[in-house]
Amino acid sequence: MNPSWQKAKIVKSAPASFDIRSLVLKPESYIPYRAGQHYELRMPGSDISRKYSIASSPYEPGDSLEFGVQLIRNGVLSPQLWGLAEGSEIEIRGPLGESFVWDADASGPLVLLGAGSGITPLLSIYRAYRFKYPHGTCAFVMSAKDASRIMHYDALKDILITRFTATEERIDLGFLKDPVGALAKNPQALFYICGPDGFIDEMVDNVLELGALEANVKSEKFT
């Protein structure tokens, strides 16, 4: 525990949606992590750090980490991260986070519920789960303004269950009944929820209402 700051090189920086950029980093020393964890990132020499969830799977070959950074207008760090060229260096500390990790032994059904940039840790968990359990049951539900706001949408569109708030209703209990209702009654099913505070508050209540066990529901807030 207590990881310290280390250098990492940006090996790839590419748009992954309208407002999310995928950054692939190669840390000086690679530390094994669990799906759902995050790192702190900062510009070299700066003391302003922000946390970013790992989007890559811990089972991917190689020793790099993928992050999805949403551009926050007027923000301090996210615009700087967007501006970094491939080959440049930043500083990172991690892996961190004990409350939103997916345990690789969890072979039961998986429900992922996300909004906006909250997709990042869910993507890591999804990728890890598919690697371990290619035939496992997984419902990956995303809320976003429209398809252009979903990270790696083209690669994910066949498996995602979506609600686009620009043209559709927000996700509510009624909507969740179909994809999640039956799974919620399965005591083996695990629930991971990530998004704005209000989204978490509502979705946790929704899945508990549908019958999910408290011990099986986890959430991660970016605030």
Binding site: E98, S99, F191, D197, D201, V204, L208, S219, K221
Partner: protein
């Protein structure tokens, strides 16, 4: 016998400017929003978004003194600034965790003081006197409670016993100020506040509104403004609930009164 226990208030704290240093009181006057002057002021950026220690940990180093009719800000190496309350001025529309708020801009001298201290544009606002911010509907009682610029509720209460339990799991013990509570209670057992429903302190009846889900601000050393990784990592191993990492209990109250250090805490 019901209500008989050894629980006493050991600290009363207010944080007049959200995310700046707090003030320890021996006795706090309770008004409709919680302790008088708690989170009455808040710092916002050029677009009116609120700024906290989450983005700017060094705000912990800004000390706050109340004087009749205003607030004094001070930080090492800078001349302190008296900010008299402006009742009228530019109205600023902002939000605290998706809950809309209206503040009055407290003027240019504090804007330049804060902008200089933080190295980014920042203004001080005070809650507009004609604006009442309701507690989120879902967590309101029929009393329709209101709150200042606090995250969501009039009070945050934590037991010393909870902190002692956490400290027994940490390599380096942490002080209570990491959690920025308004009321600290001595006596009893760790995490007893999780299960409380209604309590009475002094002449104030309080109801447990929602356990407090903790953020990165708990990792900021309040004496240095440095951000670390604890206690969130350790709390995450044993205090995770569906809505986050819980430590402390948010309370809402039934009416005005006084809460003082040494007051017994009665479980109703």
């Amino acid at each position: 016998m019901e209500g008989l226990n050894n629980l006493r208030v050991s600290e009363v704290n207010i944080y007049p400017v959200k995310s700046c240093a707090g003030i320890a009181l021996t006795s706090g006057r309770v008004v409709d929003t919680g302790f008088e002057h708690d989170r009455e002021w808040m710092i916002v950026d050029g677009e009116g978004n609120f700024i906290t220690q989450r983005q700017h940990p060094k705000l912990a180093l800004v000390s706050v003194i109340l004087f009749p009719g205003g607030v004094r800000l001070a930080a090492e190496g800078r001349s302190p600034l008296d900010v008299p309350i402006l009742i009228e001025g530019t109205r600023i529309q902002t939000e605290v965790w998706e809950s809309p708020c209206i503040g009055i801009d407290q003027g240019e001298s504090v804007e330049s003081w804060l902008t200089d201290f933080m190295g980014r544009q920042a203004r001080l606002i005070r809650m507009a006197p004609d604006f009442k911010r309701p507690v989120k509907e879902k967590y309101q009682s029929e009393k329709k409670e209101v709150v200042g610029f606090a995250d969501g509720f009039p009070f945050l209460l934590i037991s010393e016993a909870s902190l002692e339990d956490l400290n027994s799991r940490l390599a380096e013990k942490l002080p209570m100020n990491r959690f920025r509570p308004n009321i600290v209670v001595a006596g009893g057992t760790p995490y007893q506040e999780d299960a409380w429903q209604k309590i009475k302190i002094g002449d104030v009846v309080l109801r447990a509104a929602k356990p407090c889900s903790r953020c990165e601000i708990t990792t900021v050393d309040q004496a240095t403004g440095e951000k670390g990784i604890e206690p969130l990592e350790t709390l995450g191993t044993y205090r995770t609930k569906p809505k986050g990492i819980m430590f402390g209990q948010n309370l809402a109250h039934e009416g005005p009164g006084t809460i003082a250090v040494g007051d017994p805490v009665e479980l109703l």
